[in-house]
């Protein structure tokens, strides 16, 4: 099964190629084909996961299986290979991606029912799945970067899927440019990593880093081989070196790599593309911009966790970024009116959770790492479910604005129910829902590892999350309908759309239970790291506080939005509220910086240089050529006679100069 893991990758690719080449005129066939391929991939991924679970090996390294095939060699020792690295987190991601992709494909049948370009949609979606799977199983930084970019491209194509909408085109460009900007740093980091540490394979890097950290702390009992030795040596050499701007090269490399994940996971202040990316079709938002692609940054950080942990300051940057984003996005989410933007900001906030959770862990206390992966797992399902339900609501009332909704619980009963489950999950309603457990773990890990500030931010954000999700839920489903009654009459639940939502509701609830019961699933799939770790029981006060925050948030939301009718007629004049609802004017800042500063002071002089110096050289050389050609062109007038004459004269000249005459 390990060796045939490439099949999982191949199936969505077949779906893409077949769909784009042959089926783009038959949307129904394309959909069926895509679902077939993705379903097969899902089955294979599940088989793979079950095989992993049932294997006797436990622990992080024992479970990492790699196969690879050499692609090209940069130096004698540095070979770029493509292949698969299968360890608990990649397998978990495989399962999550394939399950969600299959369900979203199914959902899309209903969602794209009346769309003329649906035949293009399914292949592109499969292409994304292919790229994402390739990213997840990448055993080297280079392969990860290749698929990283493919993921970016497919995201670009899907955000701009309705390319006739100017806003969609602008959003896709924005997403593309911002993530490319971050990827430039990522690539630099890879190059730095490759040159300084002589390795781009995750295995070698992580083993070397683990060995190094254990040498510093405990007994160095690792036997290393291959690239890991190089990494180890390089790390030892870096120890204590001054480096550049006060950071040593390892920190530089890891921070640069992290910036790639920063952009992809839309951490503050590179988050601006994600809310705009909601211009794409809702299934795209659900799979790409909430459940899978945006966690690529988290995944990258987790992938390189040992080396990040060894590097000075890197994890602090991670933690800081994550905490700021979580708080920042949660505050904005409280004020938004666009149904998908609320969810987008909530995604940002949850990504911030995952990020700072990674940041609070280190090689001795890996609870944060475990918690982060756990949250990735649970979040994927309930966030996907939230987006799917949002898509169904949009589909029904033909609007994105929650100001034009309300009272939909009567019309969309199924949706109401599953959305309630998902809202409870994300808000952290205790005991029954998966989100509670994973969030709990994160806050617990932060506190117990001495990052009290992050833990408190986590608690605060938990309350905010409960509040804005409650607001979201009550404004949509409770109260009176505020929109165009005409749409409400036709509102219904498409069975293709409802079915995957119902299926997703199952993991929304049960995905957190295994943690509670100590089931082996989580002991195995969520890496328990190298050294045994337990949450600090002294922090047992956290759970009641977190529960109180969640319930309190929901209660406030109920009091403010659920209990009585809400009016959106008069815009708030409160300056703080306006500032928040305009997303702290971050977009405007960007536009000011780019348009006013960069364009005017840098780009305009460059353009002058380009126009007059660079183009001038080209134009004058072209003019010279044209002048010469004006003379010669008459010799090539299509007359055989002239050609023959020239040929013979040339022959004679050749003979003359060649000395034959």
């Amino acid at each position: 099964m390990i060796e045939s893991s490439w099949m999982i990758l191949l199936l969505p690719f077949i779906s893409f190629i077949g769909g784009i080449l042959f089926l783009h005129k038959q949307p129904k066939l394309a959909a069926g084909f895509s679902i077939l391929c993705n379903g097969a991939a899902m089955v294979m991924a599940l088989i793979l996961a079950v095989g992993f679970l049932s294997s006797d090996d436990t622990g992080y390294h024992a479970l990492a299986h790699t196969w690879s095939y050499d692609w090209f060699a940069i130096t004698d020792t540095l070979t770029v290979s493509i292949g698969a690295l299968l360890d608990p987190i990649s397998i978990m991601m495989l399962v999550v991606i394939t399950v969600i992709s299959t369900l979203v494909h199914t959902y899309s049948i209903g969602y794209m029912e009346n769309d003329a370009s649906a035949g293009r949609f399914f292949p592109l979606l499969s292409f994304f799945v292919f790229s994402m799977l390739g990213l997840v199983i990448a055993p080297t930084l280079v392969q990860m970067f290749v698929f990283w970019e493919l993921v970016g491209v497919s995201s670009y194509m899907l955000i701009g899927f309705w390319y006739h909408k100017p806003s969609a085109v602008a959003a896709s460009k924005k997403a593309f440019i911002i993530t490319r900007f971050a990827d430039a740093f990522f690539l630099t980091g890879i190059i730095l990593m490759a040159t300084q540490f002589g390795s781009i394979g995750f295995d070698a890097i992580n083993q070397g880093a683990t060995a190094f950290s254990s040498m510093n702390t405990a007994n160095p009992s690792f036997s290393l081989e291959g690239g890991a030795v190089q990494v180890f040596t390089a790390l030892a050499a870096q120890e204590g070196s001054a480096g550049f701007l006060g950071l040593n090269l390892l920190s530089w490399a890891t921070i640069l790599i992290f910036i790639g994940g920063w952009g992809k996971s839309a951490m503050f202040p590179l988050h601006v593309w994600l809310p705009d990316a909601m211009e794409g079709p809702t299934p795209v938002s659900s799979i790409i911009h909430s459940a899978t692609m945006v966690v690529a940054g988290i995944y990258l950080t987790a992938r390189l966790f040992p080396v990040f942990a060894v590097a000075e300051y890197t994890l602090s940057v991670v933690e800081f970024t994550g905490a700021i984003t979580a708080l920042f996005a949660a505050i904005i989410a409280c004020t938004q009116r666009d149904i998908k933007r609320i969810l987008a900001f909530s995604t940002l906030s949850q990504l911030g959770y995952m990020m700072f959770s990674l940041g609070v862990a280190d090689m001795e206390h890996t609870a944060g790492f475990t918690a982060s992966m756990f949250h990735v797992f649970t979040h994927a399902f309930f966030k996907c479910l939230l987006f799917l339900s949002a898509g169904l609501i949009i589909h029904s009332v033909h609007s994105n604005d929650i100001a034009l909704m309300g009272g939909l619980r009567k019309k969309l009963k199924g949706t109401y129910f599953v959305t309630l489950l998902a809202v409870c999950a994300i808000a952290g309603v205790p005991f029954l829902f998966s989100g509670f457990w994973s969030k709990e773990e994160i806050i617990m890990a932060a506190w117990s590892n001495g990052h009290q500030c992050s833990a408190i931010i986590g608690l605060l954000v938990g309350g905010l999350t409960a509040f804005y999700m409650g607001r979201y839920f009550f404004l949509i489903f409770h109260g009176e309908y505020r929109g165009d009654a005409h749409h409400l009459e036709h509102a219904h639940e498409n069975k293709f759309m409802l079915f995957p939502m119902v299926l997703l509701a199952i993991p929304t609830i049960i995905a957190g239970y295994p943690m509670l019961t100590g089931h082996t699933f989580f002991n195995t799939v969520i890496p328990q790291a190298t050294l045994p770790t337990h949450p600090d029981h002294s922090a047992s006060w956290i759970m009641p506080v977190a529960i109180a925050m969640a319930i309190g948030g929901l209660l406030v939301a109920w009091l403010k939005y659920g209990r009585r009718a809400v009016s959106f007629d008069t815009p708030s004049t409160n300056i703080v509220y306006r500032c928040i609802s305009n997303k702290f004017y971050i977009d405007e800042c960007y536009i000011f910086v780019t348009k006013k500063i960069i364009f005017r002071c840098v780009a305009a002089p460059m353009k002058l240089c380009d126009d007059y110096i660079v183009d001038g050289i080209i134009h004058s050389s072209a003019a010279i050529m044209r002048g010469c050609a004006a003379v010669i062109r008459h010799w090539q007038n299509g007359q055989t006679h002239v050609y023959l004459g020239l040929m013979i004269i040339g022959l004679a000249l050749l003979a003359w100069f060649g000395g034959a005459l």
Binding site: N637, G638, L644, I648
Partner: protein, 103 residues
């Protein structure tokens, strides 16, 4: 009869071919001139084989002409088909009046 005589003969024939190619206006006549030139080449081929030194592979003197002849006939078949098709369309086989073909 010696090698130089044969070669001179073929050289003269070849120059006739070039003269024809230069002065003729009809495509068929130009093809004809090309035939002359190819024929001169054949004469060279055979003459060299006949006057080859001991140990040379003289079979090539017979085999190469076969290839030349075969390629020529293929070329002629296509060329003449093109001419006939062109004549049907435009009623012209004068090369100077077909100059617009290169546009």
């Amino acid at each position: 009869m010696n090698l130089t005589a044969c070669l001179s003969l073929s050289a003269i024939l070849f120059s006739f071919g070039i003269f024809g190619l230069m002065t003729r206006r009809k495509i068929i006549a130009m093809l004809l001139a090309i035939e002359l030139m190819l024929n001169a080449a054949l004469i060279n081929c055979v003459a060299f084989a006949y006057y080859a030194p001991a140990g040379a592979d003289t079979d090539v003197g017979s085999i190469l002409p076969i290839f030349i002849v075969a390629i020529t006939s293929a070329e002629m078949a296509v060329a003449l088909a093109v001419i006939v098709a062109m004549y049907r369309k435009r009623k012209v086989i004068d090369i100077e009046r077909l100059e617009d073909l290169h546009d």
